[in-house]
Structures are given as structure tokens and as C-alpha cells.
């Protein structure tokens, strides 16, 4: 049955896609919520089961459970190929793990037009899953857009008062860059070797890897792909859509946007950019690394003087993403493994931060840190959770944040000592702005706004407990994740010999 009729990647795609479409036709908001939660939990269960079938080395048959290809557009050499390697498992798991958390954390929230909202959310999930499992460039591009387009609607219809303006900025950025990628895909496609008799070229990922591009062509198309991924991450200086959008978007949208969607860019670089254009990567890595490191410091320094909770988190995220970019282009085993782990960690940690920020905003109605204070006396449980999450975010050992950062820094140091020194300064800056936030929000005396804040609900406690458990387990025993992604890293590095 398994592997013959359906495979894990398909299940991970179809569940959110089908339920997402069904949900548009459900009227009752309560039923919508429950159905969405149920759907996301079902996806998570599939994802967890799929993690039991990752050992392709000892069980070659497992590979067939996770890879499948259907005839789609044979005359242009595109097939519906989906499959998972270590990185695929990791990111589909992150997606599957995050959505139930997001839905549970915002369960109490009433959205207008709930059916449309949750329907779009699940479509985004399907798009994300598709991006992470696509083994065909056209399929990849299709899902890339499938993830983005519902997101535009989510951002522009539910959110703060300036949502239209900031969504438009987001739209311009991502749409232009997606288009550049499409041009890049077409260009590479035209240089792929024929696979079948039906078409001259092929969109299959392996064909893309073996496309014959000379150095100058590689260099040009490299930047087209790079633009799409760098905007999505974002790498400095393509970041300016992000803080505004994070500030204006509604709670669960921003969790998905920052926790998972930014991984599309990182994933794209690892899956497509590095293996297709190894020579161009080697040629351009210094300039990109410099951009990444400027971005780390730039974002960290700006975060120091931010007063809005959401903007602090947004800038902190840009700093982390910059480090991941640096880890990608330092491209050695250590740094890439760090990036892999950090993709998971960053996803978990930033969703956790948004959950807490959301709780605070819902309880007090404000996000300005100077107007808050003394929450520790009101809810010691929330304080404990938040401090642990903050510590993970600043990379304290025995939390998940440490291991990923440690590996990325070690890898960067291997690439260039001075770059590592500059990038590492961020560990001081992140401690500064994060602890400042903790102090302003939780410590000190309560004021008229915060003195009536109560403790957090059972559901919130449960969600945060799950996250904190993940933070600590991954911080003490990251071995299984590193083991899982080693195959992908080895494959990528083989292109650079």
C-alpha cells in the first residue's frame, strides 16, 4: 500500500490542500476552527510517521515511500515529482509541527470570515509542503506561488491599519523576485540535457543539476535565483518589507510568515541555488557573505532602539536569518549542518516569541515596551516561559538556539576568521536587546495598564510547554536532527569539489 498507492510527500500535500478547499464551504466559525486544527494535527501525525522511514541506507525500500513521480506535462519535460531527503523531512516536519501550534495558540481569537481565513492558511500550508518536497522546477515554482498568493490575501485582509500599504510592499518585493526566478528557471531549463524522447529538455531537479551552463551564464542566472530567495529570507538589503509586514499582520499569519515562510528562501538556496550554480557561488560568495554579516549587525543594532515588541522580534529574526545566509555561503559541512538545525530552531523559537507577544498584546492592548512592566508579579508562569524562549533566542547553551548558532559560527570561522568575529558580535547585541525587552515588560513595578493582567490559560500553557520542551530537548540532544540532514549536506557539498 505505502509506496504503491500513495507516498508521504503526497499525503503531506493533499491533506492541507483538500481540507483547505473544503473549509471554504463551512459556515460555523467554531466548526472551521476545529476542522482546521484537526487537519493540521492529521498532517502532523503523517509527518511524524514519515520520520520513522528516513533510514534509506539500511532500508532502501523506504526511499520508495518518500519519492514518487507522475506524468504531468511530458511534452515540455515536466513531471509531478515529489520526494523527501533529510532536509525535506526536516522542513515538512517543521511545517506540520508549527500549524497545530499556531492554530492552538490563536484558538480563542475570532477572525472575521473565519472560513476564508483558515482556508487560506491551509492553502499556504499546502504550498509550503509542496515547495519542500518538489523535485521538479516547474512544480517547485507552482507551489512557491501557491504559498505566496494566499499569503498576500491573509496579510491584506486581516491585520493592522496599514496592512494594505505594507502588503503591497511585500507583494512588489516577492512578486518581482519570483518573476526573476521564473526567468532563471526557464533559462536553466533551456540548457538541460534531454531525458525522454518526448521533450528536448526537462524540469527534473537532476536535469537542472546537470544543466550545461558556462561561467558567465551561471553567474547571470545565479543572481536571478538569488534575488528570489534573498528577498524571501530576507538578506540585507532586501529586508525592508519584513519589519513593517510583521508589525501589521495578524497573529497567526505572522507566525507562519516568519516561522516557516522565510525557510522557503533558505531552502531554495540549499536545494536549487547551490547545487545548480556551484561555480557562480564560489565566485560571488564573498560579496554575499559580507552582505549577510552587515545584515546581522545592522539588524541587531537597529533592534537595540526599537520600542515595539513586534519590531524587536522582527529585527532579531532578520539578524538570525543573516547568520543563516552566512552559514549557507560559508558552505562547509559544519556551517551547513548549523543552518539545517537552525531552520528548525528558528521556526520553533520565533513562533514561540510571537505567541508570547500576542498574549501580552491581547491582555494589555499595547506592544510598546516602555508602557508595560511588572508582568512577572502577575503571571510568573508566562515569565518563566518567556525567559526560556528569550534565552533560546540569544543562543544560550542547553537551549536549541546554541547548537545551530555554534555550528554556523564554527563553520564561518573555518571559512574566514574575521567574518566570524564580526558575526559573533551579534551574541552581545542580541543579549542586550532581548534582556532589555524582558526587563521592560516583565520586571519593575506594575502600572495602571498591567496591574489587572491575569494568568495565562490552560491552552496557552500547553502550547508553550510543548515549545519549551522542544527547545530544551533539541538543545541537549540535537544528534537525531543532525543525523537526519547529513545526507542533504553531503550531496550539496559534492558539487563543490
Amino acid at each position: 500500500m505505502l509506496g504503491t498507492y500513495y507516498t508521504f510527500p503526497e499525503l503531506l500535500l493533499w491533506i492541507p490542500l483538500v481540507t483547505g478547499i473544503i473549509i471554504f464551504f463551512i459556515k460555523s466559525p467554531k466548526a472551521v476552527k476545529n476542522f482546521a486544527l484537526f487537519s493540521s494535527v492529521a498532517t502532523l501525525v503523517v509527518s511524524i510517521i514519515s520520520l520513522c522511514y528516513t533510514d534509506f541506507v539500511h532500508h532502501p525500500e523506504y526511499a520508495t515511500y518518500n519519492n514518487v513521480s507522475y506524468v504531468w506535462l511530458p511534452y515540455i519535460g515536466s513531471s509531478f515529482s515529489v520526494g523527501m531527503d533529510g532536509m525535506g523531512f526536516l522542513l515538512t516536519f517543521l511545517t506540520a509541527f508549527s500549524f497545530p501550534l499556531v492554530f492552538a495558540a490563536t484558538y480563542k481569537r475570532e477572525y472575521p470570515n473565519a472560513n476564508v481565513y483558515y482556508g487560506l492558511m491551509l492553502l499556504v500550508q499546502a504550498g509550503l509542503m509542496g515547495v519542500f518536497v518538489a523535485m521538479d522546477a516547474l512544480v517547485f515554482y507552482f507551489f512557491w506561488e501557491l504559498a505566496l498568493i494566499p499569503m498576500y490575501f491573509l496579510c491584506s485582509r486581516w491585520g493592522g491599519e496599514f496592512r494594505i500599504r505594507v502588503t503591497f510592499k511585500f507583494f512588489i518585493y516577492t512578486f518581482v523576485s519570483s518573476l526573476l526566478m521564473l526567468i532563471g528557471i526557464m533559462f536553466v531549463y533551456l540548457h538541460t540535457p534531454p531525458v525522454t524522447a518526448l521533450s528536448e529538455h526537462s524540469f527534473y531537479i537532476k536535469s537542472f543539476y546537470s544543466a550545461t551552463l558556462d561561467a558567465s551564464q551561471q553567474n547571470m542566472v545565479f543572481w536571478l535565483f538569488f534575488a528570489a530567495f534573498a528577498v524571501k529570507m530576507p538578506i540585507f538589503p532586501f529586508h525592508s518589507w519584513q519589519p513593517d509586514l510583521y508589525e501589521q499582520s495578524s497573529d497567526s499569519t505572522v507566525m507562519v510568515l516568519s516561522g516557516i515562510m522565510v525557510k522557503m528562501g533558505i531552502f531554495g538556496m540549499l536545494r536549487w541555488l547551490l547545487p545548480i550554480f556551484p561555480e557562480a557561488v564560489e565566485k560571488n560568495d564573498t560579496i554575499i557573505l559580507v552582505m549577510c554579516i552587515i545584515g546581522i549587525l545592522y539588524a541587531s543594532i537597529i533592534a537595540l532602539s526599537q520600542t515595539d515588541l513586534k519590531r524587536i522580534v522582527a529585527w532579531s529574526s532578520i539578524a538570525h536569518i543573516g547568520l543563516m545566509g552566512a552559514g549557507i555561503f560559508a558552505r562547509n559541512n559544519t556551517s551547513l549542518q548549523g543552518v539545517m538545525l537552525e531552520m528548525l530552531n528558528h521556526g520553533i523559537n520565533i513562533i514561540a516569541l510571537w505567541i508570547v507577544v500576542d498574549i501580552i498584546e491581547k491582555k494589555t492592548g499595547i506592544r510598546k515596551i516602555s508602557e508595560l512592566g511588572g508582568l512577572a508579579t502577575k503571571s510568573s508562569t508566562l515569565t518563566t516561559f518567556f525567559i526560556i524562549i528569550v534565552l533560546a533566542n540569544i543562543g544560550l547553551p542547553l537551549t536549541n538556539g546554541f547548537v545551530g548558532e555554534f555550528l554556523m559560527f564554527t563553520g564561518l570561522f573555518e571559512y574566514n576568521k574575521w567574518m566570524a568575529v564580526f558575526a559573533c558580535i551579534s551574541i552581545i547585541l542580541s543579549a542586550t536587546y532581548m534582556l532589555n525587552m524582558v526587563q521592560k515588560v516583565f520586571f519593575g513595578n506594575t502600572n495602571s495598564i498591567t496591574e489587572n493582567v491575569g494568568s495565562i490559560s490552560g491552552g496557552q500553557k500547553f502550547t508553550l510547554s510543548v515549545i519549551v520542551a522542544a527547545i530544551i530537548i533539541l538543545g541537549i540532544y540535537p544528534g537525531p536532527v543532525l543525523h537526519l540532514t547529513q545526507d542533504t549536506v553531503t550531496d550539496i557539498l559534492q558539487k563543490f569539489k
Binding site: S156, T384, L435, G444, G479
Partner: protein, 642 residues
Amino acid sequence: MINIFDVAYLIPLFPLLGFLINGLGRKFISKSVTGFIGSLVIFISFCLSILVFINVSKEGFTPQNIDYFSFINISKLNIPFEFQIDQLTSVFLLIITGVGFLIHVYSTSYMKDEDQAGYARYFSFLNLFVFSMLLLVLGGNYVIMFMGWEGVGLCSYLLIGFWFKNDNFNNAAKKAFIMNRIGDLGFILGIFWLINTFGTTSYHNLFDAQTGILSVITVKNSPVLIGISLLLFMGATGKSAQIPLYTWLPDAMAGPTPVSALIHAATMVTAGIYMIARSNIIYTMAPFTMSIVAIVGLATAIFAAIIALKQNDIKKVLAYSTVSQLGYMFLGLGVGAYSAAVFHVMTHAFFKALLFLGAGSVIHAMGGEQDIRKMGGLGKKMKITYVTFFIACLAIAGLPPFSGFFSKDEILAAAYSDNPLFYIVGVAGALLTAFYMFRLLALTFAGKFRGTDEQLHHLHESPSAITFPLICLAVLSAIGGFVGIPEIFVKNGNSLGDFLSPVFADSNKLLTAGTTSPQLEIILMAVSSLLILFVCIWAWKKYKNYQEGTEEAGAFTKAIENKFYVDEIYDSIIVRPLKGFSRFLGNVVEKSGLDALVNGVGKGINYSSRQIRFLQSGFVGSYILLMVIGLLLLLIIQLFTK
């Protein structure tokens, strides 16, 4: 019979359990149970540490490596979660759990005014601290050490800001964490460099005489080792409060007094000394760094001692004194007297913990007053506190036969044979120490009471949970030095030095120690002791009948009172420019530069889409427009590349 090394994980595990029980059960467990659990877990660790010590001192002991699981294991890099137990570890284990236990007992009484949740929070943090500190010294590689290193920093942060309603305390806590992080930047870069050069961070690989660093690098002062050792030392200056990163420690006195005793005097701040002693081979191979360590240590010792002369807060005097004493330990490390530095860590842990606990007893009796100008005459009311405090003062001043004499003398003797100038400055620092300690002693305990009548009425000796640790530590401060008697007095008298010698054996082979003749050593010792005694008496006489307002304040005195304005200087050259730069980037660069460009593009497209009437405005319009532009671009590229 169970091998103690097989169950070594229990030593940190018990404090961790205590942390979890008290932390999670803070709303359910009564205060007496909390205090009992908190202290009991440390006591168990202490007993286990004694067993470890007994086994380590056995004939034929070799360093034990215990590998638990693989923390990070990727193709080229393997960092196991491992412990290493040797002589150095076992000494630190005893100090941490022994002094730690006494301070836990003390805390059960000292913190009794806290509400139940606060009390449990306090003990859980204190347990977590002991756990982290044990991890730091038990770790078998630099990454595990770094875990403990950051862990103690976290606990220090949490405990300095324990009374989190006071924003000054919160600022002090944050400052401590950030300054430590600046040091940690150096530490972790040092680790990266070690990994990059040697491919491992495990001590038993790095320090193996046949296969480790010494087999790869055979000349002294190689750039790699100078770099690594300087970076690690940067870490040490943060954690152990040396110039230029010492300013957090005096502020850290915002925490409860037992915390100051345990974390900011006896244990955590000595982590830097542990780290360098652990890395002794790296330092021995980089004499350049060693002289830097010695000079920084000596400069800190003098500088902090001068500031301590004019402080009026009882805890601030002790804080600067700690900074100064840590400077001595670094001087010892810098001149290659590794075991002497560890010896001073031990004696300092005794007498400085005692001084802080004594200060806590005084502060309690005074109802929270910390200004020594408002004390006086407490000796009559608080006999035990007074006598134990007095013993501690004798020990820290370095008068024979108290413990501080032996350890300080061993460092100074080594400094003399390295460079007589170090010795002279070091003795000058010791005289300053004697002066400010006896000033503190006289102002607090001698003369007439200068506080309010209400305070006078309230004055009392502290309960036995407080006096018991004082007495224990006083005994240790008095006799603790006898484990390191100089060779000139008793043959093989330096039993601590002999015990630790295997750890430093490779370094000692490489060091070219100068020799001092025994006669000269005795003369130096006698002269310095006499000078110290003289200063003690002088300070005592000067301050025993102190009246407020009798001291004149010159410009230099004012500078000392204001701690040479170092905080203000840091603020104006680092903190404020950075904040300004941050606002500049956020408000000017971000708003006008890149963002304006993108918004301009957006506006432009909006504008053109409005101009092109056959397209809908807004979303769909620009979408299609862009698609058209994109297709055009595609065509153009196709044309150019064919």
C-alpha cells in the same frame, strides 16, 4: 563496590533535581521543605565530591574521562557530552559544594522574609547555579565548560535581579549579563579557533603530551596559541571581573547577600582562573599572553584596592576587594604559579564567603542598612559575627598563620622570581588590602554606634542557621592555609601543590622557573608581614573612633569615591554612541535609503497602473502589469543569449 567515577553524573544531577522540584513546585511546597530540599541536594553533592576527592588522591590515579553521549557529531567535528575528573576538578568540586552547602544553610534563614514563591524561586536559582558551576568544572571539553560558563552567568543574572521590582537591580543584572557576554565572545571565538586548528575541544586530546597541542606546536609564542590564549583570557576577564570588564561586579551586589558570597566571591568569579589553570599548556606555550595576564591581574589588583579604600557600602568594599583578590590570582597564573592561583581560589573562597556572610549578618541586624558610616560598635552586640569577621580580615590581609598568608605569599614569591617589580607592586596591593579591610572592620564593629535608636534597639546576634556557616568558614579561613605551607618551613609542606602537580606537570617542565634563595624568601616574607601588621593597626586606630564628617575630600579622593568615573566613561564612549547609531540606522537610514527606493518603485507602479486605464487599479492591475514586464524581460534575455 560502585566506582564513584561511574556515578559522577549524580554530582550535578542532584542540584538539578533540586532546581526542578523547587522551581516547578514553587506554589505548593512550604518554605521549610523548600529550604531543606535546596540544602540537602547540595549536601549530597558535597558528600559525593568528598568520595571523588578520596578516590582521586589514591596512589596511581589517572584522570578519568566519562563519555555520556554525543552532543554534536557531524563528519569532521565530534563534541561528546563528557566529564573529566582529575585533581583540579576535585578541588573545585569540594569548594563549590562545600561552601555552597554552607551558603544554602545560611540562606534558609537569611531569605525567610520572602513569600513562599519567592523563597522557592531563590532556592531553585541557587540550585541551578550550583548545577551549572559543577558542569563547568566537570566538563571534559571546552564546549561543556562553556555550557556551565553561560549557565552560571544566567543564574548570576537571575539572582542579581532577584528583587525584580527594583529597576536599579534589574539594570545591574542586565549589565552583568552583557559584560559577561562580551567576555564570552572571546571565549567562544577561542573555542572556534581550537576546533579549526586541532579539530577537537576535548582536554584529553588537546593536552595529551604525545598527540595533543604539544605534538603539533613545538615553539613558544606561535601566533595560533597567542591568539587562542588571548581570546580565552578575554572570556576570563569577563567572568572573573578583570580590567576592562570588571565594572559589573560591584553593581552585582544588588543581589541578596548570600548570592554575593557564593556567586560573586567564592565560586563563579573564579571560573576564569579555573579555565586558565585548565588550559595551562596553552598559556605556558604563549609566554606573551602570560605576561599580559600577569599585568592585567596586577593592575586590577591595585586599581580595585584603591577604589575599595573609599567605599562606604559594606558590600561594595567587599566587591572591590574581590576584584582585587581575583587580580592576584591572575598574577599567579601569569607568572606560571598555577597551583598557587588555585590555592588562593580556595582560601579566598573561605574568607571572602565568610566576609560576605558576616556582612549579611550585619545588614540583617541593621535592618537593611549597608552604609558603614552609620554603623559602629556592633562588636559588642554581635560577638560571633564580630570574631569570625575579624578572623576573615586577618586572613585576607595575609597575616600569618591565617590562610590568606600562605596563598598570597606563594603567588608573591612566584611573582618575585619572575619579575621583582611584580612583587613590589603586589606587596603594595596587599598593604592597601590590609588598610581597607581594617578600616571596614573598625568602622563596623569598633567605636560607638552611629545609627538610629530604632536600629540600636533592634541590634542582635543572628540565629544559628547564620552563625553556624560563619563559624565553619572562620575555622577554614584560619587553618585552611596549612595545606600549602612553603617548603622553607616544612619539607613537603605544600600538600595542595603536590596534589595538583600532575595537572600542571607538562607546563612545569616547559617553564623556566627562577629560583629565590630561602634566606631571601624568609626576609621578604617577614618584611611584608610586618608591614601588613603595621598597616592593620594603623587603619584600626585611625577608624575605630570614626565620626562622620571628619574626613577631608580632595580631588583624588573624590575620583576614588566615584570609582574613577569608569562607568561614566564607558557610558559616554560606548553605550550612548551605540544607542545613537541604532536610532540613526532605524530612523534615518532605514526610512530614507532602501525603503524609500522600494516604496518609490511601488508608487511608480501604482502611478503607471492608474495611468493605464484599461487595467484595474491596485492588486490585480499591478500583478498583470508585472507579469507583462516579466515576460518582456524573459524575451529580452532569450534574444541576448541565443
